[in-house]
Symmetry: C2
Subunit: 372 residues, 2 copies
């Protein structure tokens, strides 16, 4: 297909309308790869459905700008549509917030910024929304760590075009109760696995999440049952019940401590605990020099990042990183997921300002577009 890559708003709708639920990113990756390979100043590599495009300009510093291509499952929210609210255009559709706005800005800038101040590594990757072992950024980190060399990373997850530092950790685990099947007319001869699970559900409902302050930013934890399943028929006592729980924890908690606290909370008779996924939090780290430079260039007051993002993965690779991208993170994964279209311009302008070449004999930066 022919992309309107130079017209940011039209290009955004095109990208959203290429459905790319986790595992199904091929078409979107093919489309972007084709566009990137046409650009003379980019070296393009591909691994699975992840694409890394690098300038090789011999700059003193290299920065990384990254975003994932996949979305959670579609729920009657594709193709996208534009809605005008309070005098502003919003694009609604699966991926509009998380995070095809960021992907749009990245592809737009990668194909237009021929002379950035720092060498730039553009990373488009697959499978961020599913199990950690499938994460494209993680796979690149283990197979081609040199592709991720850099002094600083910007992850274009939705932040409503504001800088957000760090990210909360996330842990997913399964609770399993075991009963004994029987005819429900004689329930006392069986043992009801759903009734047993009620104790765990009560624990979740009674849980009071913390709101700790970390390096000046206030985080907000959460504990949620996300899926539950039990039973084979309306007149059979269920002998098996599975509950999936998601715990989000602030960056003042180590991953191992988060796991220990959940194992202790759900140490209940007859209930098995099965860890499915544990991703550490990342501290804000905004005091570092490269982070300060970026923040000064794009402006605004940094805030906390509630959602887990691959900022934590960059942190573990020794690359300081922040979240900064278009879209309302509060609507990510919701049926009415959306992005204020003008935020794409804000982000594109801010990154352009940051990456503009130095000008003048004194080496002071040129006026950024965002400050115009």
């Amino acid at each position: 297909m022919s992309l309107s890559i130079r017209e940011l708003h039209r290009f955004f709708a095109e990208i959203v309308d290429i459905e790319s639920v986790s595992g199904n990113e091929k078409q979107l990756a093919d489309t972007l790869e084709e566009a990137l390979r046409e650009v003379p100043w980019l070296q393009v590599d591909r691994l699975g459905n992840s694409i890394v495009a690098r300038t090789q300009l011999g700059r003193a510093r290299r920065v990384i700008i990254a975003g994932h291509l996949d979305t959670v499952p579609v729920k009657d929210n594709l193709p996208s549509r534009i809605e005008r609210r309070h005098g502003e255009d919003y694009l609604l559709g699966r991926g509009a917030a998380d995070m095809k706005g960021g992907v749009t800005v990245m592809a737009h800038l990668a194909t237009s910024l021929a002379e950035p101040r720092h060498d730039v590594t553009w990373v488009f990757y697959e499978c961020e929304e599913i199990e950690d072992s499938a994460n494209g950024l993680g796979i690149i980190a283990s197979q081609h760590p040199d592709w991720l060399d850099g002094e600083f990373a910007v992850l274009m997850e939705p932040t409503s075009a504001k800088v957000e530092g760090g990210c909360q950790g996330t842990m997913r685990f399964k609770l399993i109760s075991h009963g004994i099947a029987a005819h429900s007319a004689r329930g006392w001869l069986g043992h009801n696995a759903i009734h047993d699970m009620t104790v765990a559900l009560d624990k979740i409902r009674e849980f009071r999440p913390r709101r700790p302050e970390v390096e000046g930013l206030v985080f907000r934890e959460g504990l949620n049952a996300t899926t539950i399943k039990a039973g084979i028929a309306g007149n059979v006592i269920p002998d098996h019940c599975e509950l999936t729980v998601n715990y989000r924890f602030a960056p003042d908690v180590e991953a191992a401590d988060a796991e220990a606290s959940m194992r202790a909370l759900f140490d209940l008779p007859g209930i098995d605990f099965e860890l499915q996924n544990l991703s550490p939090a990342a501290r804000p780290g905004l005091e570092r020099e490269v982070a300060q430079e970026f923040c000064a260039a794009v402006g605004g007051e940094p805030g906390p990042k509630y959602g887990w993002t691959d900022v934590a993965r960059f942190a573990s690779l020794g690359v300081p990183a922040v979240n900064f991208g278009p879209g309302d993170a509060g609507t990510a994964h919701a049926d009415d997921e959306r992005c204020r279209v003008s935020e794409l311009d804000l982000c594109a302008d801010a990154l352009t300002a940051w990456l503009s070449p130095l000008e003048g004999a004194d080496g002071s930066p040129q006026t950024s577009q965002a400050e115009k």
Copy 2:
């Protein structure tokens, strides 16, 4: 296939091994119909996968002997197998208890008792284990009520070869909670439908079932969650949760009152109540003359029937009925569903004794085989 209909124990295994989960009774019905149509003293009618075979001997009284052909879903428990426990043979497999032992005895006697004392209507019917509107006995009652004329009915549901009077009522309903989907990193922007359902689950766990005495028999009520389902992904707050609940009530409670009490118990904010199925209980009714005659002939002390059976349907048609059949009702619907094989002989002998023609000039009944 060729059936061992004269060899009760072999025939039993054959019947169990013809899988007949509700909706899939055709093969079993075809097999039985073929065998019954070969019998000169039977008039055979079929409706769907239900078969009614009647003697037309001009006797003063007509009795009905009935059983359903279907089972709950198979759970790795077919084909059947014989296990010897404490010196007794048990047949294990789906339907062994509920109620292919009864079906076996019925087919065996229908094809061998050429001269019963009363005219007999043998009713083999489909879809007893699923929604009431599919119940083969109910469909016959509405389309061919004359096929069910009779003064007394024996329903061969499993009672371990003892007479059981009446049956408990059963009510199935769905509770539905509605939330708002959101990314689980910002759970406070959504509303968790599983967490809301916890209040209903607590009600079920706190429920204290009654054990009322009705006409000298002690019944035992029950309230069970049988299925639960919610959630689309491990990081999305679920916006919908469905819980199926089964309430079993004793024959001293009218169906309408049972429904009212459940609607009151689950009148919870944000939770919808959807009635799926309501089948009234039946009082024991063992004081009636025909019931007394049957009990005297087969012997033993009558007990209560916990499970709902079509005894209640016969009662509503004006036909007094009891439960009497081989198999351990306590294992019905369990994975290790089973029947002590000798109970088929007990039931066959008892029914033969009851139905044997009068002998001798004084018209007294002959000695029953069961009393030998």
